[in-house]
Symmetry: C2
Subunit: 416 residues, 2 copies
DNA sequence: CGCGATTTGTTCAGCGGTTGAATTAAATGG
DNA sequence: CCATTTAATTCAACCGCTGAACAAATCGCG
């Protein structure tokens, strides 16, 4: 007994024309190679997918010609027969550029097709007093540096993604980034003239997205392949969440999903700047934690705050430990509500929370196990982000190369 | 609900074979016909999809031969040229059977391909004292009755979906339906021998799903076509939610999404049977509303309770009005949290709430507009379910025919 | 009423891409 | 060294889309 409720996303999109066949199979084979944990052979892919070996060979030829796939060393033998030639994603083909503007740093990183972070540049600076135009100019300089490094490696940048801590609208317009002090900042316009903003074949090379979204994607790509569902909570001054459902990021009806910072953890509690009361942000946001720990946190940049709290907690400071436990409990209430609603099996603590996970995790887990209905027979994992606090830039770069893996024909057409 | 690996793998890893081309285009054309508001012509479909008129004609021939599509009367012409022959979904082909077991009634309905409810049978009875085996036997009798009525109409039942108010696990196992008093009820086993449980071509004719999920699907199918995202809240003794994201139901990592009843609206509030505190159910569940209204509601069946409350509220009973306002406020807190998280533009009040919507809506909207960050520039609609309280059975039947529209090859292969 | 214009739907040769079997390649084992 | 086994390629066949030509049906205009 089984059921198939949903539709394949490919067929929703539109008609399947003659040429779509090869287009789709290029993606199928490339995804297979990307998802495999060991370099698969053509024959293995054929057996797995149901395609014939002839077709797989033809498709792989195209992929190799387009520098998306390379042949690896033959695997250690297992039995008789001609040895398979392993296929791996090319590490000298297209790469993605990930950028991030945050309160206290700029970052740029280069990720190749295999998902390896080839370069990672960070410039620490307090960007709150800096104008958006100025901040973006500095970012462009950093991006140029990263691009040069990529080119030296023989890589071709296929696009870039910029993470910002705020709400992003259509066309790369940053509607509101409260902690940066940005409002209605038109990123492409401010970058005009820079290569980042010059369309290639009509495809804009830069996409702007919410930091929490890209960080969640980073965790998705860093983990095992396959559809997974999890919540990635980014704890900074505000609290954002990236929601990955069945292996893809859920952005919401208008692209503004993930506003977990205003989850009501204490409905008649402290008033919040959003107009509501008792929002999570007022209990587990950075300012709230610093205040509870007795730290004059007003001037601490975001990342430093987490480091400072971690140091104090590690040293056994009672006020800090209490503050973190309370924050974790508030976070746990919100997380439990989300898990009940979405039936997730994993919650990732990212951003500043990644560093504070040792102290936040127990209270979060306590609330979850108490409040989540199905927790008894379906455990929920709470863990820190594997990419740590800087996963947004990596995730952004990953999203660029992921797009190529998902639709290689776009890259092949450009390369030809 | 259990996982559907077949479909996710079709879009993620499924190879596109030679025959898949026709398979996919059958679905594309059929969906186009289903989604159109006026009977489209072959030429129109070709223009819309990008397929050739020749291809569309060939595909349509297959669909007509399989009794999925019929030719309608030519539309009144407006210009020159040969008049188009309009295509509509067949109303005498396959149909879906929707079943529901609830606390105080059994229901069965037949929905044809066009989405029309052709038959709808309801048997009111308090099923709490009845054993699961007995209840399912009565349901099977009702199903047989509905099937006979469908056959008299020349319809062929292509499958059935059963809605239950509880958590459903793999293989149609009802793990827990608290208000029915069911625990680990193996529905297919108890229906053994009945035609409902006999597989046809290896496809089980019956799927079991959560009531709230199917009700949400009913609302999805009843509304305009196209991807939409909304939350469908079913208010009974417990409170469930069906989550539709981008036009498809989200079931969660294990199929247990939608447990909004235990959303913490008052974290230090009333203890709940789930072990948590201050859960929504304790403030906006039927029992809580009845108690607040001063009604000895213990013996009232679910549907009657909503009717009773609506009558009292309509008559201006002060205690009832206060109870509904308070319940609406609690519900609004939860809904606001969900909308913040998922960025939904619509919230549907279903189940018992559908009838109480006139009184629940204002407080819900008040909380939403106060607590939802983006409410200012992106309004959230709160409205009652168009299908009313019985949308689960209709939604279940709709899901059966929808599956055929989404993958017509399955039906065509069986019909041939 | 007749004829061209116009749009719909069908027919048919052509072709891209998959298919399946045969063939070649490369290694193991007796 | 040769049979066996597995991997990858080659090639004729075939399926289903494509594009253009053709037939069908109606309107507009004289």
């Amino acid at each position: 007994m089984w059921q198939c409720q949903e539709v394949t996303s490919t067929s929703i999109a539109g008609a399947v024309r003659q040429g779509s066949l090869r287009e789709l199979n290029l993606a199928v084979v490339l995804r297979r190679i990307a998802a495999a944990d060991r370099p698969p052979s053509r024959a293995g892919i054929a057996a797995d997918t149901g395609l014939t070996r002839a077709t797989v060979s033809a498709v792989v030829d195209d992929l190799i010609a387009g520098r998306l796939v390379a042949e690896a060393e033959p695997e250690p033998r297992t039995g008789a027969g001609r040895p398979a030639r392993g296929l791996v994603l090319a590490s000298d083909g297209p790469a993605g550029l990930g950028l991030e503007v945050n309160v206290d740093y700029l970052a740029a990183c280069v990720v190749d097709l295999t998902g390896a972070v080839r370069h990672h540049l960070v410039r620490r600076a307090d960007l709150r007093p800096v104008s958006p135009a100025d901040a973006l100019a500095r970012l462009a300089a950093l991006a140029a540096e990263a691009r040069a490094a990529a080119v030296r490696d023989g890589l071709t940048l296929a696009g870039a993604a910029l993470a910002v801590p705020g709400l992003v609208g259509d066309g790369g317009l940053v509607r509101l980034a409260p902690n940066l002090g940005w409002r209605d900042v038109d990123v492409p316009a401010l970058l005009a003239g820079h290569p980042l903003a010059e369309p290639v074949d009509g495809v804009p090379p830069l996409v702007v997205d919410n930091e929490a979204n890209l960080a969640a994607l980073g965790e998705l790509y860093a983990g095992p392949a396959g559809p997974r569902s999890f919540l990635h909570v980014t704890g900074e001054i505000g609290i954002g969440a990236g929601i990955v459902l069945d292996g893809s990021l859920y952005r919401g009806a208008r692209g503004w999903s993930g506003e977990i910072g205003h989850f009501p953890v204490q409905p008649q509690g402290r008033p919040c700047r959003c107009g509501g009361q008792g929002c999570l942000e007022r209990y587990a946001g950075q300012e709230a934690i610093l205040a509870a720990a007795g730290l004059p946190g007003a001037e601490l940049p975001a990342d430093t705050a987490a480091a400072r709290l971690a140091d104090l907690a590690g040293a056994g400071d009672a006020a800090t430990l209490t503050a973190l436990t309370d924050a974790g409990a508030a976070l746990g209430i919100a997380v439990a509500g989300v898990v009940n609603l979405l039936d997730l099996d994993t919650v990732v603590l990212g951003g500043g929370y990644a560093r504070l996970a040792p102290w936040l995790r127990p209270p979060v887990e306590a609330e979850v196990s108490q409040r989540v209905l199905t927790a008894a027979w379906a455990p929920v994992t709470v863990r820190p982000a594997v990419l740590g606090a800087q996963s947004a830039a990596v995730g952004g770069a990953g999203s660029v190369v992921r797009r190529i893996v998902d639709r290689p024909v776009g890259w092949l057409a450009r390369a030809a």
